[in-house]
């Protein structure tokens, strides 16, 4: 249960930030209501065929990954690098223990399910969306009590212009005019915008009482020539999307003192913006999709 003090409305007025959206990826992570929710539920089949191989399926442990757990004084809570992926999803991991201190994982997850519940049989085949999925690698290159070196590399396919969820819009995003009644609507995406790559490297160490980490991240978009009234992939409405890339770093430290009873931490991150504009070599006609709406 994660609720606002004195409120259980469960659907918030959109404030321009992701914390006022209720979608599959963050239902347990943003203030909602007094409803009990399940953030993760999965099974793991270990030692398949006598090998250091495992299979894990379900609602993944994909939030609270390193180094984000340090700031809460908690153990590692998720598999992927937390600075890159901190999002609930349903997926599959196949892992192989390369040694006592190294585990390689192939991961798959679904971000948007286009079939069940979306009324797609009522749409023309050309208007039906593709599922949004991702696939990637989570590799603990070295993991022991004092050091973690990890890389996460993934590509998301057929990213949509939103996710299914409930929302209250204060203004009409097309006209800018206020919406006078707080209407709860089921938002659903209207277009597949393209693919996106993410990659990162984390070095995290514990040197005596001092924990520290350095994280580097990279992102690159591969847009389809699709635009919507809200824009395309990192592009404005009705403009031809082009490929963009960006980098970020996140570093910090935490000092433990007072007989392990007190920890003080400091961290900082900078995202220099999605800046580098790389023309997409393929050029096709620009497709425009209708306004996302309620179903």
């Amino acid at each position: 249960m994660y609720k606002t003090w004195g409120d259980s409305t469960a659907v918030q007025v959109f404030n321009g930030q992701a914390n006022s959206l209720n979608i599959d990826g963050n239902t347990a992570g943003v203030p909602n209501s007094d409803i009990l929710r399940v953030e993760r539920a999965y099974f793991t089949w270990n030692n398949i065929a006598g090998l250091p191989l495992y299979l894990s399926i379900g609602r993944r442990p994909s939030t609270g990954g390193p180094p984000m757990n340090l700031r809460k004084g908690q153990l590692r809570g998720g598999t992927p690098m937390g600075a890159l992926i901190d999002f609930q999803f349903d997926g599959i991991t196949v892992g192989y223990h390369l040694g006592e201190h190294s585990t390689l994982r192939l991961c798959y997850g679904r971000g948007y399910e286009s079939g069940f519940g979306n009324g797609h049989v009522l749409q023309q085949p050309a208007d039906r969306l593709k599922d949004a999925d991702f696939a990637g690698i989570n590799w603990d290159i070295w993991s022991d009590d004092t050091m973690l070196v990890q890389t996460t590399v993934a590509r998301a396919f057929h990213i949509t212009d939103g996710f299914n969820g409930l929302i209250v819009l204060p203004t009409n995003p097309l006209t800018g005019q206020p919406v006078n009644a707080p209407v709860v609507m089921r938002f659903t995406p209207s277009a597949n915008l393209g693919d996106m790559d993410i990659a990162g490297l984390l070095v995290q160490r514990k040197d005596g009482p001092f924990d520290w980490f350095v994280t580097l991240g990279y992102i690159k978009s591969h847009p389809e020539p699709v635009t919507t009234p809200f824009g395309g992939l990192f592009s404005d409405p009705f403009q031809r999307p082009t490929s963009h890339s960006g980098t970020m770093y996140y570093l910090g430290g935490r000092y433990t003192f007072d007989g392990n009873r007190t920890m003080g931490g400091l961290s900082t991150t900078t995202v220099p913006s999605i800046g580098s504009i790389l023309p997409r070599p393929k050029t096709t006609s620009l497709r425009r999709r209708p306004q996302p709406g309620a179903t």
Partner: protein
């Protein structure tokens, strides 16, 4: 973004954590993949609230069991 915090164990399973996070934005669209990022003083005016500076102060008390 810059964050500072202090975490203190008040009892065996009870923790107090004051913390502060400051965000400074130069561009719109942080966390979003729709729309082109724009300098916050760009025209036209953005459709939804976009902050240029935000500070979050929290005091958390955590019981673990």
């Amino acid at each position: 973004m810059i964050e500072a915090y202090l975490m203190h164990q008040l009892a065996k399973k009870f923790f107090l954590r004051p913390g502060v996070v400051n965000y400074q934005y130069d561009y719109s669209g942080s966390s979003w993949h729709l729309g082109a990022p724009k300098k916050l003083d760009a025209k036209p005016i953005l459709g939804f609230p976009t902050y240029d500076d935000a500070t979050v102060v929290t005091v958390s008390m955590t019981a673990r069991f």
